[in-house]
Amino acid sequence: MSAAKMQWPEIRFKVNGAERSVSVPPMKRLLDVLREDMGLTGVKEGCGEGECGSCSVLLDGVLVNSCLVPALQANGCEVLTVEGLATNGALAHIQQTFLELGGTQCGICTPGMMLAAESLLRKNPQPDLDEIREGLAGNLCRCTGYMRIIDAVRRASQTPTSTAASVREETVRK
């Protein structure tokens, strides 16, 4: 098996800021390369056909379903996964608002959902409600009914930094 593996061309790309290279079948799914060859298991598989968005990553800044992307297509690109959102142990703003506003329940859609939110906010830093809904429409969540996720994205777009207590106070209706 290792002999066969050596025959595959090397694919090089940057993942979460670090140069990585793998020798894998060029049509291997980027999802599997990230999970199996690079140990980035924060990238989840929900459907394997590009419907649920759990495997969402940013490929050169573009939101893609990594279950539909062959590894070859990532050659020379930059990939951002959930593991690359936090910097030096500090949660990214979008992670903080998901955590504090109830944007994660079972957590399986959360990595992909946060990358969809990140992609939206990079393109449109001040989205309105409809734009947030549209921006998240490719990512399915079965737990939340999306309300708290929408809150988290809106909050992330409104404040450059968060203060946990004040964020939580606001979100709870009486």
Binding site: S54, E83, A164, R173
Partner: protein, 759 residues
């Protein structure tokens, strides 16, 4: 204990305990785990609905000697997944299959990629047998596929004298309502890893709700003593009932492969297998015949409930029970008869899904109440107001309501919050001049019993453990699982509150049958109310031990607690307590007559849905949704609101989007591409409100709320659609094509209604 006294932590939006792991990608779900030397497993399933197995052949072109192959002959113990009925669903079919996608052969190989073609190369020869796929076919009993009469379970509930009431009626209103199967659609598919060794026996790690259900099943399948089976729940990516019973099956499969292979084996379903092979919500048919007086007061109700149970019993008897008890709604009626049957068919077994039978019958009664209102000539809200249950009145099973529940007050509040009256007038005015968009608003009221039905909690006899170490850190030991709904956080809050500590001073042990006692399954809206109360009891017991040893005073600080734990541990060793369920003394239940206190407590709700129906596309958009509920004390308002919103979204899917398309007993749309659930664009703004009346049975007055929000949305939406279009739609899911067909078949609005006017 059932009080609203000042609390520090209960009632606050404490952060989700495992939240940081979930937002960083660090949470480890079963497919994120690999054991050394692990192989991968796959399942060969039946491709017919019913037939005798004649031969199993392993086709050419596959290096079969590289595979581990398991059939029913490899099962060391009983070939059965025990749950409620003995000799029920086999682990692997041996002589006959009874539904499509029934497991027959298991394969394992080190390379996951090789399994797909190997599964396809196994050929099973059958002698086909006649199969049935509907309640109607099953009740005709021309083809018997279960027992002697196809009846998996039946109940009869009788209160008063229904038969003598019809002559006194001003109106008799009849109706028949249908609900379809619904997939739980947790985003993490089912999966387990099994590990086997002669010394330790079988260890299962996996995505699941009920570790002790899996444990019990494996003891019988593998014929092992208790200590030789260990079940550990890994992080679980949604469940909603769909991981209540099926994980026992997958665990048995992976275990059989691991035992034969002598190495760990992982089985992870892909979406198509998970959709086609595992459980769904029971399809239902409910029939109501109701006598009312001139003012619309209920005189008598005769109800028939019929469920499609699928090919094996699994949890169906208890689903039917809950469906039956909830079928008469939150209304008082002196004369009620409910006859209910669960019918066997050759569908894969239907199972648990949030609400567990109650969304089906609440759909029936809440659609029916609107038809009664129409027959009497009063508004939908008025017919409800005139018939509400109240303190001192009795339910269908004769349970006297002890809660100080104020349903008329809740109805008023929900109508005000939603601006119901003004919208109803405005929509009527606007609809008269709009030929394309018709707007409507609908209201429902309902209740949901928390905990196991009847004597169920007594049989469960749940046990909770709690430990404190020398540093004063407390660990809660429960088999109750977290799968997104908030178990870890809620139980931490209860323990921290009771001990005078902070949430960070408390951990919830990973559910592992070798470490935690059996606190019962994580189902039936029971975890906060029943298990939470035991956690509170254990916390008090723990503090009392420290007091008895004179290490703590009546009032103490967190530092004082830590010092006491250090001293206790040094002098006496480990500090550990247990709390066992004790049935409330005033709860009586007669299983034979189906009479008595069905549940220790009910949650109550009034929901309002606002819709816009587009008569060009026949599509319905839910424009606004208002959810008011009384759930006792809310332990964590953020998580509670998240539960309600998520349940409402699933209910919207149930009503308008989610259709299982059956073909010869198999789900033919077993992909997320064509089984459609709501997206962020489809779910409206959901406004959530709580009334909090403390309940004496739960910790700090809490009741269960997890299933409640799935009960109301579907009938509320269809009531709103009737308000918008004038048409009495009686079936869900109501997709645009269903609405189109119904409107073309009966173009005159309202002609489907069956109202007999007696006087």
């Amino acid at each position: 204990m059932g009080d609203m006294s000042q609390t520090r932590i209960v009632g606050t939006p404490a952060l989700r305990r495992e939240g940081i792991d979930k937002v960083t990608g660090g949470a480890r779900y079963i497919d994120d785990i690999a054991l050394p030397g692990m192989w991968h497993g796959a399942t060969v399933r039946s491709n017919i609905a019913r037939g005798a197995i004649k031969d199993i052949r392993f086709g050419a072109g596959i290096a079969w000697d590289e595979f581990v192959i398991v059939t029913a002959k490899d099962i060391p113990g009983e070939n059965c997944i025990p749950l409620i009925v003995d000799h029920d669903q086999p682990v692997l079919a041996e002589t006959q299959v009874n539904h499509p996608e029934e497991p027959v052969v298991l394969l394992a190989h080190p390379d996951k990629a090789r399994l797909h073609e190997a599964v396809a190369a196994v050929e099973i020869d059958y002698e086909p047998l006649p199969a049935i796929f509907s309640i109607e076919e099953s009740e005709q009993q021309r083809t018997i596929v279960w027992g002697e009469d196809n009846v998996i379970k039946h109940f009869l509930v009788e209160k008063g004298d229904v038969d003598s009431a019809w002559l006194r009626a001003a109106h008799i209103v009849t109706g028949e309502y249908h609900t379809g199967a619904q997939e739980q659609l947790y985003i993490e598919n089912n999966g387990v890893i099994a590990d086997w060794s002669e010394a330790d026996g079988l260890t299962i790690r996996g995505s699941m709700q009920c570790p002790y259900y899996v444990h019990r099943a494996l003891l019988r399948v593998f014929d092992l003593p208790t200590e030789k089976v260990r079940v550990i729940q890994s992080e679980t990516g949604g469940a909603f009932g769909g991981k209540e019973d099926y994980p026992s099956m997958i665990a048995a499969h992976a275990g059989l492969l691991a035992k034969k292979a002598g190495r760990p084996v992982k089985i992870i379903y892909d979406r198509e297998e998970d959709l086609a092979a595992t459980t769904k919500r029971h399809p239902s048919r409910t029939r109501y015949r109701t006598a009312v007086d001139r003012e619309g007061r209920l005189l008598a109700t005769d109800i028939q409930v019929d469920l499609d149970g699928g090919a094996y019993a699994t949890v169906t008897p208890t689903v039917l029970s809950r469906a039956t008890i909830h079928a008469s709604g939150p209304y008082f009626c002196e004369n009620i008869r409910i006859r209910s049957h669960a019918w066997a068919t050759n569908h894969p077994p239907h199972g648990a899904f949030r609400g567990f039978g109650s969304p089906q019958t609440i759909f029936g009664i809440e659609r029916h109440m609107d038809q009664i209102a129409k027959a009497v000539g009063i508004s939908p809200e008025e017919v409800r107001r005139r018939n509400f249950l109240a303190q001192g009145k009795t339910t269908a099973t004769g349970q006297e309501i002890r809660d100080a529940i104020d349903l008329p007050g809740m109805l008023d509040r929900a109508l005000k919050i939603s601006d119901y009256e003004a919208k109803r007038l405005r929509f009527a005015r606007e609809n008269a001049t709009s030929s394309v968009i018709k707007r409507g608003i609908g209201v429902v009221s309902f209740m949901h019993g928390a905990g196991f039905t009847g004597s169920g909690e007594r049989y469960l006899n749940s046990l909770v453990g709690m430990e404190a170490d020398a540093a004063g850190h407390v660990t809660v030991l429960v088999s109750s699982t977290e799968f997104g709904q908030g178990t870890n956080t809620i139980l931490s809050q209860v323990a921290a509150e009771a001990l005078g500590l902070s949430c960070e001073d408390v951990s919830i042990a990973q559910p592992d049958t070798q470490r935690v006692p059996n606190s019962g399954p994580t189902v039936a809206s029971r975890t906060t109310m029943i298990v939470g109360r035991l956690v509170q009891d254990a916390a008090y017991a723990l503090a009392n031990i420290l007091r008895e040893k004179k290490l703590l005073g009546e009032g103490y600080s967190a530092a004082g607690f830590r010092a006491a734990c250090a001293t206790y541990t040094e002098r006496f060793g480990a500090l550990r307590v247990e709390a066992r369920y004790q049935a409330p003394k005033d709860i009586f239940w007669d299983d034979a007559a189906y009479k008595g206190e069905a549940y220790p407590a009910f949650a109550w709700a009034v929901y309002v849905a606002e819709v816009a129906v587009d008569l060009r596309t026949y599509s319905t958009q839910v424009v606004n949704f208002y959810a008011l509920q009384e759930v006792g004390r809310v332990i964590n308002p953020l998580l509670a609101a998240g539960q309600i919103e998520g349940g409402v979204a699933q209910g919207i899917g149930y009503a308008l989007y989610e259709k299982v398309v059956w073909k010869d007993g198999r789900m033919s749309n077993s992909q997320m591409t064509n089984y459609i659930m709501p997206t962020a664009v489809d779910v409206p703004n959901i406004e959530v409100y709580f009334d909090e009346t403390p309940c004496e049975h739960g910790p700090y007055g809490a009741k269960g709320l997890g299933e409640l929000p799935h009960d109301g949305p579907a009938p509320a939406i269809l009531n709103a659609i009737q308000n918008a279009t004038g048409i009495n739609f009686t079936s869900i899911p109501l997709l645009p094509e269903d609405m189109y067909l119904r409107m073309v078949e009966t173009p005159e609005p309202g002609t489907m209604e069956t109202v007999e006017c007696v006087k």
